[in-house]
Structure formats: C-alpha cells, structure tokens
C-alpha cells in the first residue's frame, strides 16, 4: 500500500474496520486521510451511526406493515 490512500480505499477500510482489526499501518493511513478529507469523515460518521442504529433496532410498536403506509 502506498503512503496516501484514495477515498475509495479509505471507504473500504472504514467498512472493513467494522468487521476486522485493521493493522496499525492501515489505521495510521486512514487517520491521515480522514484529517484532510470531509467526504470520508462524513462517511465514517454515517457508518458509525448505522452500526449504532442496527444495534438499537427493536421491533416497532405496532404490527403495521411499513410498506402499507
């Protein structure tokens, strides 16, 4: 891997970081990229929110089919 990551590589590492331990080197490169990139920083925040939301996902209050709304 080169010293600089592209957004494409960073997006992928952000996702993989949710499923495996990234190496110290991967984490360092990712951090470096995130400090200068709003797009990937926002993506990182979106992924964090989705993870939190999925863990909090409970069955809804009523039995209404959401697709019927």
């Amino acid at each position: 891997m080169r010293f600089k990551l592209t957004c494409k590589e960073t997006h992928r590492l952000i996702s993989e970081g949710l499923d495996r331990d990234l190496s110290i080197y991967e984490r360092l490169l990712m951090r470096l990229h995130l400090t200068v990139c709003d797009a990937c920083t926002n993506f990182d925040g979106q992924m964090a929110l989705m993870r939190k939301a999925m863990r909090n996902l409970t069955i809804p209050e009523d039995g209404k089919q959401p697709r019927d709304r």
Binding site: H11, S15, D19, R67
Partner: protein, 191 residues
C-alpha cells in the same frame, strides 16, 4: 398469566414475524422462531418485570432464538451472492477513476438525536427490506445479531474477504437508502 401481557404480545407478533423473516428468509422457520420467542416470554413473565420496554426485551429473545436456529441447522448452505450483484457495481458507482468520491457524503448530524426518533427506525426497516435478500441476511447477521465475521463465514460458507466485500456493499446500499429517504428529507425540512 396476565391478560394484558397476552394482548400486548399478540400485537407484537406481526412485527416479530417480519423481523424473523427478514433475517431467516424462510417463513416456516420464522414462524417457529416467533412461536418460541412468545412462549419464552409467557413461560417466565416475571423475567420481564422491571425491564424498561417489552419490545426491547422481546427483540433480545428473538435474536437469541434466531441465532440458536442458525447454529442448530446442519443444512449445508450454498450461499451464492452472485445473483444479488447487479451489473453496475454499487462500489464503483461511488468513485471517479482517480478514487475520489463523485458526490461527497453529507454529514448525518448527531447520531443520538437521530436514534431518538421512532420514524427513523421505520425508515431503516423499509431500507433493510429493500436490500437484496442475501445481502440483507449477512448484514443483519453482522449488525443486528452481532455475530463475529468468522462465525458468519462458517455459517454461510464464504471466505472472509468475500464477507467483507458483501458487508461493505450492504452498508453502501443501506446508506444510500437512508440518505435518500431520511436524511435528505430532514435536511430539506430544517432549511
């Protein structure tokens, strides 16, 4: 056994079934799991006493029952995701040739404020239902049942690198749906 609890459980049944089907993709197995879940609550209603929310409590039981069924099933699965993948790849569609994003992802704001809104979870359920079946299944195994990637690979018979890509694709699709159907609307309402 309290009549009120009975009624409440009855009301929750359709939602339980919907979630079980979403994860298991098999109506008959999902029915059994929901039945087991309801029985577990009815047999020991005292365990629920003091819990903050019946829905939270019963969702936890449902998840455990689903995991039990998955682990017990010795059926060899042929988990081929090829049919879930469309021609225009969801990953490549996001980036220019030089690896930059085509559209910059927007900031979704304060997660806690979002997660306080019931309607957000409604939208998320709809978005999960919109995912291709197998994509939804592996994603929910990882993020909802919170299984480790290693176990998911064993269950589904896929390689770890394959699982990472599938999960990445699932996240991109779910993100796109949430962005379009929730965060997009939120932005236009507040501006």
């Amino acid at each position: 056994m309290s009549e009120a609890l009975h009624l409440e459980l009855h009301a929750l049944r359709p939602a339980l079934l919907r979630f079980a089907v979403l994860q298991l993709r098999n109506d008959a197995v999902a029915e059994d799991v929901v039945q087991d879940t309801l029985m577990a609550v009815l047999e020991k209603p005292e365990q629920f006493a003091g819990q903050s929310s019946l829905r939270t409590y019963i969702t936890g039981i449902l998840k455990h029952k689903i995991i039990d069924v998955m682990r017990a099933s010795k059926r060899v699965r042929q988990f081929d995701v090829a049919d879930d993948e469309s021609e225009d790849d969801v990953i490549d569609a996001l980036f220019k040739a030089d690896g930059h994003t085509i559209d910059q992802p927007r900031a979704w704001g304060d997660p806690d404020a979002t997660l306080e809104q019931k309607d957000f979870f409604r939208v998320m359920e709809i978005c999960l239902e919109k995912l291709p079946a197998k994509t939804a299944r592996i994603f929910m195994m990882r993020e909802w049942l919170e299984l480790e990637t290693e176990e998911i690979c064993k269950e589904l018979g896929v390689s770890t690198s394959n699982a990472w890509v599938m999960l990445y694709r699932a996240r991109l699709k779910l993100r796109e749906c949430l962005d379009l159907n929730w965060f997009g609307n939120q932005a236009s309402q507040s501006s």
